[in-house]
């Protein structure tokens, strides 16, 4: 692809355009059964073939399209979307001339009920990312998948791969069994901090009970839109349990949650903290200060205010443009095109930060 990329505003002026670097912080890779079997040990391959990958039941919100994927994201050779290196390169990284892509496998590893198999599954997915993807494309970085409901087993996997140059972060999902401030997850944070790896929390998951604070709704649209409420519950837990006072250098990245909700959440957390801070001895300052320092947010699905000027008002209220990172969510149906995702009203400096600079700093990627 020979096109130069820049903001839509500059495109229309006809002046010489400057290429805007792009780091995509949410690129999904999937592992097909034969690849999984190839990366499992003989014992766990046998287990997988005899017992399968058992997880929570009663959590079905049938999605609107197979694999929640774009219709054009199915590779012609019959692979599933996100499971074919060359096709992802062609359709995403080359097409948009991306500098880097952070791989975020959604493999349901943390939902495996047998934690020992969960660890084996995580190891297989991680080796698959390293050997089958990152080894073939220097633009790609991987996420350490862990059986996150078991803290010590998860720490084991983080220690195995924490120094590997391909690993950019540790990956969990939004809907866990307990809120993420809970002590059962602390071994994960301790291990991740040892290698200066951020904890990424991606849209999705089930923790085995209702997916809202009032039981389970009915439709996929509620499962999907309601992820914003689960993210808010996690931020509330993370901050109020004082994780950022306990673990030096702990960083969270919230992927595919959107970000407009963070504004009223910070206000509510601060106002409530003013009255109830005695219950939270580890929290030494207003919750919003911890959030703005230690939490990064990916853009997709980007909120669309009713009037364009409100988008910039929203960014001003958020005051986190040094923490926002572009994400496409490829190959899912709600993919955000890097050329069009950020409204044209956003100033160039902020756009550059969002499209690449913030991610380059967080993940230590030269651009």
């Amino acid at each position: 692809m020979a096109i130069s990329l820049t903001s839509p505003l500059q495109d229309r002026t006809g002046t010489e355009v400057v290429r805007t670097p792009i780091i995509d912080t949410d690129v999904h890779v999937y592992i097909q059964p034969d690849d999984l079997e190839r990366h499992l040990s003989p014992f766990w391959r046998d287990h997988y073939l005899n017992f399968g990958k058992r997880t929570y039941d009663g959590m079905l919100f049938p999605r609107s399209m197979p694999m929640a994927a774009r219709h054009d994201a199915w590779p012609p050779n019959g692979d599933i979307p996100g499971a074919n290196l060359e096709f992802t390169q062609m359709q995403l990284l080359d097409e948009f001339d991306m500098d880097y892509a952070i791989l975020t496998p959604l493999t349901g590893t943390g939902e495996v009920l047998n934690f020992d198999f969960g660890l084996a599954h995580a190891q297989a997915v991680n080796d698959y990312q390293i050997e089958d993807w990152c080894a073939h494309d220097s633009r790609m970085r991987a996420s350490i998948i862990i059986p996150y409901e078991d803290g010590p087993l998860s720490a084991e996997e983080i220690h195995r791969l924490g120094n590997h140059p391909s690993m950019a972060q540790v990956l969990l999902v939004t809907r866990t069994r307990e809120p993420l401030g809970s002590r059962c997850y602390w071994p994960i944070y301790e291990a991740a901090c040892e290698y200066d790896l951020p904890i990424a929390v991606h849209f999705g998951g089930v923790g085995g009970s209702g997916i809202t604070g009032a039981g389970s709704p009915t439709y996929y649209i509620e499962d999907h839109a309601g992820m914003a409420q689960s993210f808010q519950s996690q931020v509330t837990s993370i901050v109020s349990q004082g994780l950022f006072e306990i673990f030096d250098n702990l960083k969270f990245v919230l992927i595919e949650g959107g970000f407009a909700w963070m504004i009223p959440l910070m206000w509510r957390l601060d106002r409530t903290w003013e009255k109830l801070h005695k219950e939270l001895p580890r929290v030494k300052k207003p919750p919003s200060e911890y959030i703005r320092e230690n939490i990064w947010l990916s853009t997709q699905p980007i909120e669309e205010p009713l009037y364009p000027h409100q988008f910039n008002q929203m960014l001003d209220q958020l005051a986190m443009t040094d923490r926002l990172m572009f994400a496409s969510d490829y190959p899912h149906w709600d993919f955000d095109n890097p050329l069009r995702a950020i409204p044209s009203t956003v100033a160039d400096g902020e756009r550059r930060r969002i499209m690449a600079e913030n991610a380059a700093e967080l993940y230590d990627l030269p651009i």
């Binding site: 609107s64 809907r175 866990t176 069994r177 307990e178 809120p179 993420l180 401030g181 809970s182 923790g207 009970s209 209702g210 997916i211 809202t212 604070g213 009032a214 039981g215 389970s216 709704p217 009915t218 439709y219 996929y220 649209i221 509620e222 999907h224 839109a225 309601g226 914003a228 409420q229 689960s230 808010q232 519950s233 509330t236 837990s237 109020s240 349990q241 959107g258 407009a260 909700w261 504004i263 009223p264 959440l265 206000w267 509510r268 957390l269 106002r271 409530t272 009255k275 109830l276 219950e279 939270l280 699905p301 909120e303 669309e304 205010p305 009713l306 409100q310 209220q317 149906w333 709600d334």
Partner: protein
């Protein structure tokens, strides 16, 4: 001036005994049952009662219905010049699985409200308490009171065991719609399911702050699952859940509808339009930003003119004042709507 959210809690279970069938009084005494439980407003927690009136509220000899009526008159109605005060009682009958007892408790609370509150001051209006976890029983309670002067809405806790848009709840909302009364959804509840989508938090702070997400989930459920398409006349006020999250929820719900509306084909308009048509918000807690200009931006984003209704949320501790008045930043034209015109229209007051 109309105050949409004042709490008239039951001081002691014994105050309800005159209104309970003897069978349930005996049962309650024999089993040492102390009444419904809820994590929403524990007596000792700071936010439950404003520090300046804590002694008046719980002190010896003052923890009874007559004293609480006087307290509200003296500290809220008279000083602020309130002409109509809507009482919202948080007696959590849905926390009692024994549904016959729960239903009798609801009837007792409603009778107690009629005799001890509505009869005591003509400025008071009351909310019908229902065993909302069992729509069949709840419908009976709504029909019992819907034509009784002074009862202006049906009260539902925001925490429920299934979201309110789910069709299992249709009997309940059909009865509310038929009654012509609005529903009020208020902070708290004790349905026995976790108050978040990710399990049980450890602190009261998390449950309290996190209640805003439960409100958001309920709005989403009611709009997407077609409650307002089935009952177009249904109107809802969200009490004590904050409102600054409304713009972000509207944007997200609109965006999701663009991509997934074939999931919910009965939703024919933008979700934000449904929200603005069917929902109102009480004013407190403000959950305000430090910068008042940003609050004005939020009002503009949610097109708040018709949507907000004044409340003090007495006796809960929200602001410095015991009964907070209208915030300074509120423009004059909005002030009149929020304090008077919006609630008058919502409750069809003379």
């Amino acid at each position: 001036m109309i105050d949409c959210d004042i709490h008239n809690e039951v001081p002691h279970l014994e105050e309800l005994y005159p209104y309970l069938p003897q069978h349930w009084v005996d049962y309650t005494e024999e089993s040492s049952f102390e009444g419904p439980d809820a994590n929403d407003y524990p007596e000792m927690v700071a936010t439950t009662v404003h520090p300046d009136v804590r002694d008046d509220y719980f002190g010896d000899g003052r923890c009874n219905t007559a004293a609480r009526v006087r307290l509200i008159q003296d500290r809220v109605l008279d000083p602020l010049g309130i002409s109509v005060a809507v009482l919202n009682n948080a007696f959590r009958v849905p926390s009692i699985h024994a549904v016959d007892l729960a239903a009798s408790m609801a009837t007792a609370v409603n009778t107690w409200q009629q005799e001890q509150w509505l009869a005591a001051d003509k400025r008071f209006r009351a909310s019908i308490i229902v065993p909302s976890h069992n729509p069949v029983a709840a419908v009976q309670e709504i029909r019992r009171w819907q034509n009784t002067p002074g009862f202006v809405q049906v009260l539902l806790p925001v925490r429920s065991h299934v979201p309110y848009g789910v069709r299992n709840m249709d009997l309940l909302f059909e009865a509310i719609a038929d009654s012509g009364l609005p529903a009020a959804i208020n902070f708290g509840g004790a349905p026995g399911v976790p108050p978040t989508g990710v399990g049980w938090p450890q602190t009261y702070y998390e449950i309290h702050a996190g209640m805003a997400q439960v409100f958001q989930s309920q709005v989403m459920s009611m709009v997407y699952e077609g409650l307002f398409d089935r009952y177009p006349q249904l109107r809802i006020v969200l009490l004590e859940g904050g409102f600054t999250w409304a713009p972000s929820l509207m944007w997200r719900m609109n965006k999701e509808w663009k991509g997934l509306r074939h999931n919910v084909p009965w939703v024919k308009n933008w979700p934000a339009d449904y929200i603005r048509t069917h929902f109102r918000w009480s004013l407190q807690p403000l959950d305000a930003p430090d910068d008042p200009d940003q609050m004005l931006e939020i009002l503009d984003m949610m097109e708040a003119d018709e949507l907000l209704m004044f409340s003090t949320d007495f006796p809960h501790w929200q602001q410095k004042e015991i009964a907070p008045g209208v915030p300074d930043w509120m423009p004059e034209d909005l002030r009149r709507k929020v304090c008077f015109e919006n609630p008058r229209a919502f409750y069809s007051l003379e």
